[in-house]
């Protein structure tokens, strides 16, 4: 498996300059799902932002170009001005195909869901739609910030299974931030994880 991201001896500070993470090293390979865990405020999202914006380029080597990286941030706002349907949201991806959506979403979305309105869909339906939109982009690296937010246990399992199948089929790397409470779910699906607490600046 080829390495898509190599992070070596990375130190990250808060915007105010105080140290957050020190000497962090890891690598991400194609076909791998890697979870980053840790308690609130430890710097998980800050780390993702640093990786995405390539702000510490001497300590990280990307072997994929930026346009091959897809990012799912945490939701800042649940509602949208236009009354979009879930189908509208998915059709932002060029490869969206109404007939094949069940296969292409790896079981996350059913055709019957597509006419539902975004603004009245449940949190779980919205999250699965957003994850599917990312899968449809067929990027080489998926970077997901708290993808389990708003999902019940059964949906969390479906998302992990979908990511597994997607990573294996597309030889795509998945880097996701998640909470410690999902440790069992990660272990059950043999997902490697990094606990940021070990790297937190004291």
């Amino acid at each position: 498996m080829s390495v898509v991201l190599e992070v070596a001896d990375l130190t990250i500070n808060t915007p105010g300059g105080s140290p957050l993470l020190s000497h962090l090293s890891f690598s991400l390979r194609s076909g791998q799902i890697l979870a980053i865990t840790g308690p609130n405020g430890i710097g998980k999202t800050t780390l993702l932002q640093a990786l995405l914006l390539d702000t510490h380029s001497s300590h990280m080597i990307w072997n994929t170009p930026p346009h091959e990286r897809a990012y799912l941030p945490q939701l800042h706002n649940q509602y949208f001005h236009i009354n979009l349907t879930l189908k509208d949201v998915l059709s932002f991806a060029d490869s969206f195909n109404f007939q094949r959506i069940e296969e292409e979403s790896f079981g996350l979305i059913s055709r019957t869901m597509l006419e539902r309105a975004w603004n009245t869909a449940s949190g779980g339906e919205r999250q699965k739609t957003l994850i599917t939109r990312l899968l449809l982009k067929r990027s080489k690296v998926l970077i997901l910030d708290e993808p389990m937010n708003h999902l019940d246990k059964s949906s969390q399992k479906k998302v992990i299974e979908a990511l597994h199948r997607f990573a294996a089929q597309e030889r795509c790397a998945v880097l996701m931030v998640t909470h410690e409470q999902h440790a069992n779910l990660l272990a059950n699906h043999k997902i490697e994880s990094i606990d940021l607490e070990q790297w937190a600046s004291k």
């Binding site: 999202t45 941030p73 800042h76 949208f80 001005h81 236009i82 009354n83 349907t85 932002f92 006419e115």
Partner: protein, 282 residues
């Protein structure tokens, strides 16, 4: 009546095209929750227009400068207002709308101050605020017609990508990583349209075409992106056309308020027709 329409044919065509271009831009500005910022940038453009006209009158300049100077100053002040207001958003200030509100009050005060420094500006100020589509010159008609058409082409060509960017900005705020070149293209189109539109057809017409169609649709229609866009691109030019012609026929009616009244009435009728015929799912 036919003679009047013949006389104003270029103004009618240009303002109709501009209204459609503004309505398309308004969909994305509203989606990105940028209405208050847009009102400030429009007021910044207004200040630039007044400064430009004031300088023209003070220095007694004529000819091509009469068109170019107010547009240039409007563009400069709208860019400065945009940069300042964008810094509020980039700094992640809580309650950005309150900051935009105070910025608007300052710009309004500066515009009034400008009109007292150049006394002949008072009538211009009223005209730039409330507008009159019937008084635009042929040269202005050509400029806004081209700009309106350019905006329609740009917004239609990148329709899906602009929509996705608006969606991401609304949902993810500062955490989204937008395609920078597409974002700059959108911002440039908005600044150009606002500056020229405020200078020629006025602030009121500009804001009405930007926000009335998209808010009517968002409030009443549930048919998705396609229906929303179609509603906006039909309503704004139809209301402009009908309102303009009605105000030509009834000379006591001012053009812009008539257009806006027609926009609300026709918008409401269109909403009722669409609801009644259950076309929303289309």
């Amino acid at each position: 009546m036919i003679e009047l329409i013949q006389l104003y044919k270029w103004s009618i065509l240009a303002s109709t095209l501009l209204s459609m271009g503004l309505a398309l831009l308004g969909i994305h500005l509203a989606s990105r929750d940028r209405a208050m910022q847009t009102i400030c940038v429009g007021q910044g453009a207004m200040l630039g227009v007044l400064l430009g006209i004031g300088v023209l009158q003070y220095l007694e300049l004529h000819g091509i400068l009469e068109q170019i100077l107010p547009l240039t100053t409007a563009l400069l002040t709208s860019i400065a207002t945009f940069a300042l207001s964008q810094s509020y958003l980039n700094r992640g200030l809580a309650s950005a709308n309150s900051h935009f509100g105070s910025l608007f009050a300052i710009l309004l005060a500066l515009a009034y101050l400008c009109s007292t420094l150049f006394p002949a500006l008072e009538s211009h100020m009223a005209q730039r605020y409330f507008g009159d589509v019937a008084t635009i010159s042929d040269a202005e008609s050509m400029m806004i017609g081209v700009l309106g058409l350019g905006s329609i082409v740009c917004m239609s060509f990148f329709y899906k990508r602009f929509a996705e960017q608006s969606f991401d900005q609304a949902l993810y705020g500062g955490l989204s990583l937008p395609d920078r070149s597409l974002l700059r293209l959108f911002e440039l189109t908005v600044l150009l349209c606002l500056s020229l539109s405020v200078q020629t057809v006025g602030y009121l017409f500009t804001l009405a075409c930007l926000f009335i169609p998209t808010t009517l649709s968002a409030r009443h229609l549930k048919g998705g992106m396609k229906l929303h866009t179609i509603f906006c691109v039909i309503l704004a030019p139809l209301a402009t056309l009908l309102g303009f012609i009605l105000s030509l026929g009834l000379s006591r009616l001012p053009t812009v308020p008539t257009i806006i009244t027609i926009m609300v009435v026709v918008g409401w009728i269109l909403v009722q027709i669409l609801k009644h015929r259950r076309l929303e799912g289309g």
